[in-house]
């Protein structure tokens, strides 16, 4: 993305501006809380306490964060190649098939560490497959990736309702879900990790897939900044014509990027299916694919930014539940508003405060130059 703005120091670009945008988003959210007739500071207290106050709360926060790391990385990888993958929701949903199949097949005979790698492969495969068609259609037929991935979200939703009500549901059961997995289909909790810090995980479903998410984040960094493919992706994202002149195949990069993005989104399914429910349910994604957009925008599409952004949204999800418990007039839909505001201010309006900040720094730079001159004279 070429920007008509002057270059700013790194800490301003990646630290100050996102923080200001985030602060404005939260200020506006505070106004909504006021409008509802509650105290925003009290809400903020319940939010923080509900997210970090106890080991169990922290466990839930990190459980949600795991999900958002995956979907955030998925959106970010596509962003780097100049593609907007809005279909993380559908890819994660379909990715669930891979997890469920691996678990239904082996859960009774194999331990979790045998099922887990297969489930990872399965989820990545199904997620990538669901992203392949939009990528291929963009590359070969020129259909707009945003529209196609939106359509694929709805198609995925219909497909999964069909599968869960007709195919994957055990005989004689009414609920649209698979059977509950045996031991082999359940991921161990990371209680020992919290225990190091003297915290008790309680009933929180914080599990091994968190470690997988961290590994995935590292691999994405490696891919984007340390491989030839990543270089090609970034080139295409910056300037498709430059990529074309350099002899890079646009269609190849588009399809591969979308498949990697879809695979990452699909792996999100491991966390709720194997980590918490031990079965695949209707709507298990619960909007995480869209949260990924906010996470990627806030984290500036860099893994080092995505992980804290994902934790922030995990905090909102967990703490938001606590707020709605303490302050009944603020339901969990408050998170949806905050999510929208973050997307608005950190994404669409990211340049709103930039001219003012640039001017501020230009002024300071000039003053420093004047001081240096007078000293020299």
């Amino acid at each position: 993305m070429s920007s008509p703005y002057a270059k700013l120091p790194g800490w301003v670009e990646y630290g100050l501006i996102p923080l200001i945008n985030l602060a404005v988003a939260f200020l506006v959210a505070g106004l909504v809380v006021l409008l509802v007739g509650e105290n925003p500071l009290e809400a903020a207290y319940h939010l923080l306490n509900g997210a970090f106050g106890r080991g169990e709360y922290l466990g839930f926060t990190l459980y949600y964060a795991t999900t958002f790391i995956f979907t955030g990385l998925a959106v970010a990888v596509a962003f780097h190649a100049g593609l907007f993958n809005i279909g993380g929701e559908g890819q994660a949903y379909v990715g669930g098939i891979g997890v469920a199949l691996a678990c239904l097949w082996l859960d009774q005979t194999m331990p979790w560490f045998v099922v887990f790698p297969l489930a990872i492969l399965g989820s990545a495969f199904f997620g990538a497959a669901w992203a392949f068609l939009p990528g291929w259609l963009q590359a070969k037929r020129g259909s707009h990736i945003v529209i196609t991935t939106i359509m694929f979200n709805f198609i995925a939703s219909s497909l999964m309702v069909y599968l869960l009500t007709r195919v994957l549901k055990p005989l004689g059961s009414m609920a649209p879900q698979t059977r509950t997995f045996a031991e082999g289909g359940q991921l161990p909790k990371l209680d020992w990790l919290l225990a190091i810090f003297g915290l008790d995980i309680g009933t929180a479903p914080f599990n091994v897939s968190f470690l997988l998410a961290l590994v995935a984040a590292f691999c994405v960094w490696l891919l984007i900044w340390r491989t030839k493919l990543g270089y090609e992706m970034r080139t295409m994202g910056h300037s498709p014509s430059a990529a074309r002149y350099a002899g890079m195949s646009e269609s190849r990069i588009t399809v591969i990027t979308m498949m990697i993005s879809g695979a990452l989104a699909g792996m999100m399914a491991l966390n709720p299916i194997m980590g918490e429910q031990a079965r695949m349910q209707l709507d298990f994604v619960q909007g995480a694919g869209f949260v990924g957009i906010a996470v990627a925008l806030m984290g500036r599409s860099h893994p080092a930014g995505i992980i804290p952004a994902a934790v922030l949204f995990g905090m909102l999800y967990q703490g938001g539940a606590e707020i709605s418990f303490e302050m009944p007039s603020i339901s969990r839909d408050m998170i949806v508003i905050i999510q929208g505001l973050v997307i608005l201010f950190a994404g669409a309006l990211e340049n709103m405060f930039r001219p003012a900040i640039t001017r501020l720094f230009a002024m300071q730079g000039r003053r420093a130059a004047v001081v240096a001159q007078t000293k020299g004279a």
Partner: protein, 323 residues
């Protein structure tokens, strides 16, 4: 219950479910033809439906409800316009943001103001639209074929329904027969040329976005003041995206938009009708397939297998006046 009667009933419900799609797709037509992509149709419609339901419930006036719907929808459009025209932000990101903000705030505000689980209070007679019976609808009902078509299919709809269908030629006239329309289409194809002619690209795009807001306001008001008596949480249920699909399916042309919306509305009506009833020759069709069909058709169209959908050239690109 003969075959003919079934068809009339089916077409009648097709019209009923197509109306919000037509309004919203025409709304999208105005902005997208001016070069501003808008995936926030869903959010604007939902916000308008909430405003209409809330204001109509408080004032007991359907017209105040409609006015509130239009105003809220314009306000949301202006947010989108500010982000994507003035701030030159990413238009898709902005649309996504608006959808989320509205989805959350309608529930929070509705619950805080009315305490009915995100609903607005059920509306009485004066606070919602009543069906309009065309003249002689009752007297000619007995005439075979033509009678039911006139009395049951064409008569007995809401005022907004007739407005929706009237908006199709009106939009065509505005876009293709007025100076404003010509410039609006030009700004979506080649804003540089429009700018060179001394016409403000920014102001033109803002006006297009406001037109979009007005039409989305009608769409939302139809949902909560005509189709049902009051706002229900998340009541647009993806209609904004279907409208978007219809807009693309119609290749950004007013008459095609009406046909595409009627087709998607028909699929919807058929899906409800077929639930549990097997189809002759084909047998049982899963409801989910019928529901997914509009999206599948749009994907196939976009891929260029049924004609080619060519979007406005400058769509999605913010205009930067010389560097």
């Amino acid at each position: 219950m003969d075959f003919f009667h079934v068809i009339v009933v089916l077409l009648e419900s097709t019209i009923r479910v197509s109306v919000p799609l037509i309004f919203a797709a025409l709304a999208g037509l105005f902005t997208e033809r001016a070069g501003v992509f808008d995936i926030g149709l869903e959010g604007k419609m939902l916000g308008a439906a909430f405003a209409a339901g809330a204001v109509a419930a408080v004032t007991q006036s359907v017209w105040m409800g409609l006015l509130a719907a239009i105003l809220i929808s314009i306000a949301l459009s202006l947010v989108h316009g500010y982000a994507s025209i003035t701030q030159r932000g990413n238009q898709i990101v902005s649309g996504v943001a608006i959808n989320f903000i509205v989805a959350g705030s309608t529930v929070i505000l509705g619950e805080a103001w009315f305490r009915q689980g995100g609903r607005t209070p059920a509306l009485g007679e004066g606070a919602r639209f009543q069906v309009v019976n065309l003249p002689f609808a009752d007297s000619i009902r007995e005439i075979p074929i033509l009678g039911p078509i006139y009395s049951d299919l064409l008569s007995g709809h809401f005022l907004l329904t007739y407005i929706a269908f009237a908006m199709v030629p009106v939009s065509w006239w505005i876009l293709y027969r007025t100076r404003f329309g010509l410039r609006l289409r030009a700004v979506g194809e080649n804003p540089g040329a429009v700018d060179t002619a001394g016409i403000s690209v920014i102001w033109l795009r803002y006006r297009a976005v406001i037109c979009c807001g007005i039409l989305c306001g009608f769409a939302g008001a139809y949902l909560s003041l005509a189709m049902t008596a009051g706002f229900v949480k998340g009541m647009t249920a993806g209609k904004g995206y279907i409208a978007l699909a219809a807009l693309i399916f119609a290749k950004w042309r007013p008459k095609n938009i009406m046909l595409a919306c009627l087709l998607f509305g028909f699929l919807d009506a058929l899906a409800i009708r077929l639930q549990g009833n097997p189809l002759p020759l084909i047998g049982q069709v899963p409801v989910q397939l019928m529901q997914a069909l509009p999206y599948i058709l749009t994907v196939i169209l976009l891929a260029g297998f049924i004609g080619k959908a060519i979007p406005p050239k400058a769509g999605g690109v913010p205009y930067v006046k010389e560097r």
